[in-house]
C-alpha cells in the first residue's frame, strides 16, 4: 500500500500539488488501486451471488424532501439481514439511499461522503446540489465494470437546494445516467410497487409528517408484493429508515417517530389490506 510506506517520511509531492479539490481525483491519481470498483474481476459464469439491498423511495414536500428505505438485505431467496441501513446522510443538506450490492454500496457511500466533506474543507464552502449529484454520477460510472458482472449499485440522491430553496431528488441508472425526478421516485426491486403507491398518494401540498407517512405506505406496498423488500417489523421493532432534509439540514427520524407512523400504517391495513383508496375520478 503506497501511503503506508509514505506515512513515515515527508508529505509526498502529490499531496502538496495544487489542483483539484476532489478527493476522488486525488485518490485516482495517487492510489487508484484503492478506489472501489477498480479491480478487474476474473470472468465468472452467471451472476455473482452477493448481498443485495432493495427498495429506496423519496418524495418532496413544500419545505424539503423525504428519503426512506426498507431494512431488508437478501442473498438469492434468503434474507441476509433484517436491519440493514441503506439510507445515509451525504452531508448536512443531502442524503443518499442505495439499492443493489450492499458491500459495494457501503464503500461507495463512504467515498461519496468523503468527497463532499473534502471539497468543503479544501474550498471553504460546500458544493452546489447539482455539483454533488454530478459527482455521484461519476462515481457510479466508475463502477460500471462491476455492474456488468452483476454487482450493480443504484443510488438515489436527495437534498435541499439552498439556492432554489426546495427539496430535489435525483435518480441514477447503472451507467451513471442522472435524471432529476419531480415529486417522487423509487429505486430497487420493490420500486415498481412503491412507485404505484406514491403515484396515488403523493401530493405537493402535504406536510412533512404526511409525506413521511406516504413513503412508509409505499414501502409497505413494496414489501407486500416484493419478497426482497421488508415491511415494518413490529415484533422486532425494526422500522424503515426515514430521513428528512429541509433548510435546517439533514434529520433522521427517531425510532419513536417512525414506529408511530409504522404502527398507524399497519393498523390501517388491518381494515384495508390494500391501503388507502384513491378516488376513481
Amino acid at each position: 500500500m503506497a501511503a503506508n510506506s509514505h506515512d513515515q517520511g515527508r508529505l509526498p509531492a502529490a499531496f502538496l500539488r495544487p489542483g483539484s479539490s476532489s478527493f476522488l481525483d486525488f485518490l485516482s491519481d495517487y492510489a487508484p488501486e484503492r478506489l472501489p470498483g477498480s479491480q478487474v474481476l476474473p470472468p465468472v459464469q452467471g451472476a455473482v451471488e452477493a448481498v443485495h439491498g432493495t427498495t429506496i423511495v423519496a418524495a418532496t414536500f413544500a419545505g424539503g424532501v423525504v428519503l426512506a428505505g426498507d431494512r431488508r438485505a437478501t442473498m438469492g431467496n434468503m434474507i441476509a439481514q433484517r436491519d440493514v441501513e441503506k439510507v445515509f446522510p451525504a452531508d448536512e443538506y443531502s442524503a443518499v439511499g442505495i439499492a443493489g450490492t450492499a458491500g459495494l454500496a457501503v464503500e461507495l457511500v463512504k467515498l461519496f461522503q468523503l468527497e463532499l466533506e473534502h471539497f468543503e474543507k479544501v474550498e471553504g464552502h460546500a458544493l452546489s446540489l447539482e455539483g454533488k449529484a454530478n459527482r455521484l454520477s461519476a462515481m457510479i460510472r466508475g463502477n460500471l465494470g462491476m455492474a456488468l458482472q452483476g454487482l450493480a449499485v443504484v443510488p438515489m440522491f436527495a437534498g435541499y437546494d439552498l439556492e432554489r430553496e426546495r427539496g430535489r431528488i435525483f435518480s441514477y441508472d447503472v451507467t451513471g445516467g442522472r435524471s432529476e425526478e419531480l415529486g417522487f421516485a423509487a429505486v430497487g426491486s420493490g420500486s415498481i410497487f412503491a412507485r404505484g403507491a406514491l403515484k396515488k398518494l403523493h401530493r405537493e401540498d402535504l406536510t412533512e409528517q404526511q409525506t413521511a407517512t406516504v413513503v412508509v405506505q409505499s414501502l409497505y406496498d413494496a414489501a407486500d408484493d416484493d419478497s426482497a423488500t421488508g415491511g415494518p417489523d413490529l415484533a422486532r421493532r425494526i422500522f424503515p429508515i426515514v430521513t428528512v432534509i429541509t433548510e435546517d439540514g439533514f434529520r433522521r427520524l427517531g425510532e419513536a417517530e417512525v414506529s408511530e407512523i409504522a404502527r398507524t400504517v399497519t393498523e390501517g391495513r388491518l381494515s384495508q389490506p390494500n391501503g388507502p383508496l384513491a378516488p376513481v375520478l
Binding site: M1, A3, D7, Q8, G9, R10, L11, F15, L16, P18, F23, F26, L27, Y30, A31, R34, P89, E92, Y93, K110, L111, L114, E117, H118, K121, V122, G124, I245, T246, D248, G249, F250, R251
Partner: protein, 255 residues
C-alpha cells in the same frame, strides 16, 4: 573561473533560519488557547476568504502564519493526508500527533535541502480531546522542530511578547468569552508597548468545541455571535456561556 566562497554549514543554516524568521515576523500574529470546552483560535485577519485557521478533520484544526501560498499548500496536503488515512483505516485513526509529525518531517526536509528555499511559515496543529487533559497542541516552526504546547500559544510576528502575556493570565477553566477577550487583549499589544484597537471584523475566530453534537467539532465564530462573545467577556467575565447555547448556533447545521 571563479571559485565559490566557502560558507560554513553553521553559517548556511543560520542564514536560512534568519530568512525564514524574518518572513514569519512580517505576518500578523495568531494565538491558540485552551478553554473549558475546547480550543479557541484567534487570528488577526481582515480577509473573510483567505483563512489562517482551517478544519483538517473531525477533531483536528490547523492554524498558520507566514506566507499564504506555502501554508495553504501544507494545509491542503494535510487535509488530503487525513482524509486518505481516515478512508483507508477509520476516522478514529487520524490523529494530530501523526499529522504534526508529518508536517515536521516535511518542513525539516525543506529547511535542510539546499535546493529549496525554506518555508516562511509557522504552523499549529491542535486536536480537541474528550477532556481538557486530552487536548493536544503542537507548534511547528519553520525548521521542522516540533513543540508540544499546553494552555496557550502564540505564533507570528510578535509571538514572544504575546506568549508571555498569555502565560501570565491564562487559566484552563476560562469560558469562551473570557478566552476570546484574553486572546484579543494579547493581540492588541504592540512590540513597542503601545496598544491598538481590534474589532470583531478584523478577527478570524474558530473553535474546536468538544461538546458540539456533530462528529466534526470545528466551527467558525463570526458576525454577531463573535461581537456578543467579545462584549460578554469584557463586561461579565464570570458569565458561563458556551457557544452551543448561543441562540443562532446550530440551526444552520442540522445533522
Amino acid at each position: 573561473m571563479s571559485t565559490p566562497f566557502y560558507v560554513s554549514p553553521q553559517q548556511a543554516m543560520a542564514d536560512r533560519a534568519e530568512y525564514a524568521r524574518k518572513g514569519i515576523a512580517r505576518g500578523r500574529s495568531l494565538v491558540v488557547l485552551q478553554y473549558a470546552d475546547g480550543i479557541v483560535f484567534v487570528a488577526e485577519n481582515p480577509s473573510r476568504a483567505l483563512h489562517k485557521v482551517s478544519e483538517i478533520y473531525d477533531r483536528i484544526a490547523f492554524a498558520a502564519t507566514g506566507k499564504y501560498n506555502e501554508y495553504e499548500s501544507l494545509r491542503i496536503g494535510g487535509t488530503r493526508y487525513a482524509d486518505l488515512r481516515g478512508y483507508t483505516y477509520d476516522r478514529e485513526d487520524v490523529t494530530a500527533r501523526g499529522l504534526a509529525n508529518l508536517y515536521a518531517q516535511t518542513l525539516g526536509n525543506i529547511f535542510s535541502s539546499a535546493a529549496e528555499k525554506p518555508y516562511e511559515v509557522e504552523l499549529l496543529v491542535a486536536e480537541v480531546g474528550e477532556t481538557p487533559a486530552h487536548d493536544e497542541i503542537y507548534r511547528l516552526p519553520h525548521d521542522g522542530s516540533i513543540i508540544d504546547e499546553h494552555g496557550s500559544v502564540a505564533v507570528g510576528g510578535n509571538s514572544d511578547q504575546i506568549g508571555s502575556y498569555l502565560d501570565q493570565r491564562h487559566r484552563d477553566d476560562l469560558s469562551l468569552g473570557e478566552a476570546l477577550r484574553l486572546a484579543v487583549e494579547s493581540l492588541t499589544r504592540d512590540s513597542n508597548g503601545g496598544e491598538r484597537e481590534l474589532t470583531a471584523d478584523q478577527l478570524e475566530v474558530a473553535v474546536l468545541d468538544r461538546n458540539r453534537a456533530q462528529q466534526r467539532k470545528f466551527k467558525r465564530v463570526s458576525g454577531p455571535q463573535l461581537a456578543r462573545l467579545l462584549d460578554e467577556g469584557q463586561t461579565a467575565p464570570a458569565a458561563e456561556e458556551s457557544p452551543e447555547s448561543a441562540p443562532e448556533d446550530g440551526d444552520d447545521e442540522g445533522k
